[in-house]
Symmetry: D2
Subunit: 357 residues, 4 copies
């Protein structure tokens, strides 16, 4: 239509004006090409020794605020992130140590893996940590960690850092004096108020965007999961899936992250499915493998499995013992916008072929 030289000049002018011709670029930035976020398994046998050795690499007095190893998805580089919305990390503190108080707009939770007599303080409430407990530190709440036990205290940290970062919303603040915050409650006050089954205080129920309950004890959650399984709450994609909920609303525990316990039977082979949310699974116990986008990923006790958004995924449990997972996802950031979708895998009775022999 026009002379090439004119066109060159035209497009150069557009570039100078910070304008792009949509007929020559892909506005959605590669939406039609495969996504770069990778699935993966991070093995406990790799992570734990390095985490333990980190006690030699840094100390909480002088070296940093948290002794944390965070899982980096290669597809997120140079940014940090386990998926495009979620962060998964492991944290360790030693007896007598204190990870000083701070707060940030990013929401976090802690799923306790091992140790005794550790604690997290959230807004002045001292929450004891025991393996299997879930502890919330919602966005912009002051929190610090410590341990009065005998051995190392280790937990999984889940955060929404990449999501909040994508909204330019990350704000971080140290507690004055870089120390633990003073206690308002010597024990898990929110658990005493809001942690019972079936009843709530008749008055003074907070209406926040996050759960008022900061401690979900292992024994209750696991008992609930077992009872749901016994009552038939089970399907061929997720086995038995219990969600931790805000007792005031029945909703997700945090406005950006949903947390679950999941039980798959010994020998179970789930059907493949893909979802627009991304999911991180921590294997509490059991072993097996998952097939994600045609690749096999083996996992066993305490390994961490990452399933990116819109990746076909199915799980296979080894015979002989069931598999128990703690799992979380970014589903809550999709729902308000109608962006959650899922699709089940139809061919081959719902099972992918493995890409390599």
């Amino acid at each position: 239509m026009v002379q090439a030289v004119d066109a060159d000049q035209y497009y150069a002018e557009l570039e100078d004006l910070n304008v792009a011709p949509l007929w020559r670029v892909d506005e959605s930035g590669g939406a039609r090409s495969p996504d770069t976020i990778r699935p993966g398994v991070w093995r406990w046998r790799d992570l734990y020794p390095r985490l333990a050795r980190a006690t030699e690499m840094m100390d909480l007095e002088t070296g940093g605020e948290r002794r944390v190893l965070t899982l980096i998805n290669p597809g997120m580089k140079p940014l940090l992130g386990t998926t495009h919305t979620l962060t998964t990390s492991l944290q360790l503190i030693l007896p007598g140590e204190v990870a000083p108080a701070h707060r940030h707009t990013m929401a976090a939770f802690r799923f306790i893996i091992e140790g005794q007599r550790g604690y997290t303080v959230v807004e002045g409430e001292k929450l004891p940590m025991s393996p299997g407990d879930l502890i919330l530190t919602p966005g912009w709440t002051w929190h610090d960690h410590g341990s009065e036990g005998e051995g190392p205290m280790v937990w999984l940290d889940g955060l929404d850092v990449p999501f909040v970062r994508s909204l330019k919303g990350c704000v971080f603040q140290d507690f004055p004096g870089r120390r633990a915050q003073p206690l308002k409650h010597a024990g898990p006050d929110s658990y005493e108020h809001f942690g019972a089954a079936g009843v709530l205080p008749a008055k003074n129920r907070p209406r926040s965007l996050y759960s008022p309950l900061n401690l979900y004890k292992w024994e209750h959650a696991y008992d609930g999961l077992r009872r749901m399984q016994a009552a038939g709450d089970e399907d061929e994609y997720d086995g038995t899936l219990a969600e931790y909920v805000n007792p005031i609303t029945g909703g997700h525990v945090l406005p950006t992250m949903a947390c679950y316990l999941q039980l798959l039977r010994a020998g179970q082979h789930t059907k493949a499915r893909r979802q627009t949310n991304s999911t991180v699974l921590f294997c509490i116990r059991g072993s097996g493998y998952s097939v994600i986008e045609g690749q096999r990923y083996d996992w066993a006790d305490r390994d961490i499995l990452v399933v990116p958004a819109w990746a076909w995924a199915e799980h296979v449990v080894d015979p002989g013992q069931e598999a128990l997972f703690f799992r979380y996802s970014d589903l809550p950031v999709l729902e308000p916008f109608g962006l959650f979708r899922e699709e089940v895998y139809r061919p081959n009775d719902g099972h992918q072929s493995l890409a390599d022999a």
Copy 2:
């Protein structure tokens, strides 16, 4: 202004036309005069022998569908009702008896007082009854009762009959064949799915106007109440007040009735208050008296106390032991319309004078 004889004819014409002149009548029907609904205590020592004797007066095979004594507020006559919105009754069945299945638009619950191995079936789910349990039979759900135990099974029935009746909404239906309904679940299925603390099934959560949980076990509710009290959930009007809630929404268990457990300390004298909702209290244990509109009402174990809407009320617990109540109200029928109000009693440090020496 006009001749009296003309006026007489004028008003007679209006009457013929089914029209009333608002300047001569009180449209709100006596709203400004004292209400007729009476406070009162129904004593267990009066009720229980008559209820026991009712087994001689009627049998469930031939005499009626339910062996129920219902509390009649004198101010409701000739209609039945314990308050203008609520019904309170006592029900008894003997071992081997069956109260056949029916359903009605009126919602009901059962608070179990004594007996073992009784059960209620709700929509095919068999719910065991133990003292202190709360069982819901929401509006239009099929329900029947039975007992496989050794002694009589006795419980308190709470219903919203007068409210639904005022809306011309009462519909009643017998189960075909006047018998127990077939079981879909041999045990308390809804309790297995929705009865845990802090977790819910990730999928298949019903969104009804009432709680999906049909059984609230005593031990959980009482434990929750105790923990709330220990954590400081207490005030000078209600002591410690725990509400039974819909686990899916955190809302009232039924769209028309809110249910509570309440704990008052030994020797406690609450301050007087009045509310636009009416309240029924069942004394689980303890003794004392209440002052309602200046009159004293004594109560002890298993007595039933009725506090009408907008009646000044305060409670006094005998020294030496605490008082524990199951309590319910019609608060949910007021909230959607902005008709809930309350007022605290200011004079005399919040305590009424007794009307009679």
Copy 3:
């Protein structure tokens, strides 16, 4: 089972104790028998002359606060009420008169029938009245009426008195000094803020249980109705039915009453249906008849038709001109409790037989 004489004594004792045996009484108070609320038409030709003559019977200075004729359903006696939940009345004021300010917990609206330069003041906002306008005076808002025009100002009053009365919720208060309240806004301020199509103020939107908009102008509502009809919003039960809504929430204008404009085509014969809500229709223009529970009720311009809850009703418009109604119902008091139901009439192609020749 027992001796009759014992039984007599037993039942006498129960009566003394204010307890009733449920096997001998109907708890729902006649729910299974036909309801007493009657359908009916109140004719303008009957009402208007009496309303006009009421100016001789009372004056607003000395005789009462409102010059109102209220429609009495014979089935409500001795209580007042047009249905078991709703009140319908006609009100008239003369030029220069003032109906002094008061407020009450009962909600009300005014649908203007005739006159010019009348006004209602609601919470200090002066709302001009023109035929076809809908003016809200929600529960517990101060309101007074006046006229600066030349002839009588006449409107229909809709209230929820019987419903609020059934909840013992009627409270009434005169404005200090028995006079008009002072103005905060010389014009319809809420209409300026919230009355536009498609836009709202970005800030300061009230979140009340009722609409913040106190004036719905005839020309907008009628234009909307016409456009809906043209776009095909029409069915065989209601013709074209437009609901006045709260612009902040899209919900009913008042928490207890829903208001509508309705258009039926010339010659249209709707199909019969019954609903658990009761409905009052004011015929703005047109003529025809309705069949309610097999009885024929003729109506024409400005007549008022009452359709009780659960009464079969269908409408027949005379040939040659359409029928236009303002209509309101108590639907909002049923919805929160799941008590709204409807049923369509199946026999005879949806049309009832007339009971009498």
Copy 4:
């Protein structure tokens, strides 16, 4: 603590394992450093000639689906985006042209700038375009554009592409045959159903995450804005600000974007404020300048002003004539997560100093 060589090896191992030590990296990815998104003004005098000339550069038959120039924020490169969440573009079609139907998960709207007898078809509904109209094409709705007029049709496109892209949610689909979709409605059907002031269809109201109304006509929105201003809806930060709303819910028109009309008085100098949402303003008419982060940006008729998240911004209108803006923001993507915050500028009576002399 440890030998440097050991540390080097340790950190190398972590990198091999795709794990990062949080004490050596900034997890929030530069949250504490200044953001890269730049404020700016795109001038109509620069954009319009290039847009007009684009008709020579591409044609809709063979060259691309849309003739669009999109504003590129330098801080977003290499990705496209006007802010980190929003896209702003200008689109032009010529008489007789058709931009073929497609759909995408990204939501869009069109604010019409000039031309007559253009149209957009959304899900089979043909929406006429006139200057000042707002047309919605919500996520995943089929839409195409055409013109039956005489001159070019030009409008502003607003999309949420960068936000949806950050959630890996971009999906795009061409309508079969790369052509206009068939019409279901020859006119703006949704406007006829849902575009009236104060009334809605009583039945069949869709409950989607976006507004059911696809056309907001200029005359209604502008009239509403004027009336709000006259009624005193005005403050020192935003002048008079009217939000386009979903008539069914009163909420934002799209789940990801809020749209507004804004009026500033002649000579007005607003106070500075910063907000966590980003905002794009299209100057419908008027002239003046804005101070954003201490820099001056001049604007006049049809210029586009971009205010990034958390940038101090204030606006100064030239004397003699008011300024009228169409404005949109990503506020809805922040609200569900509690990430909306704002701060007013306290020093110097709320006005920034200009950074350069």
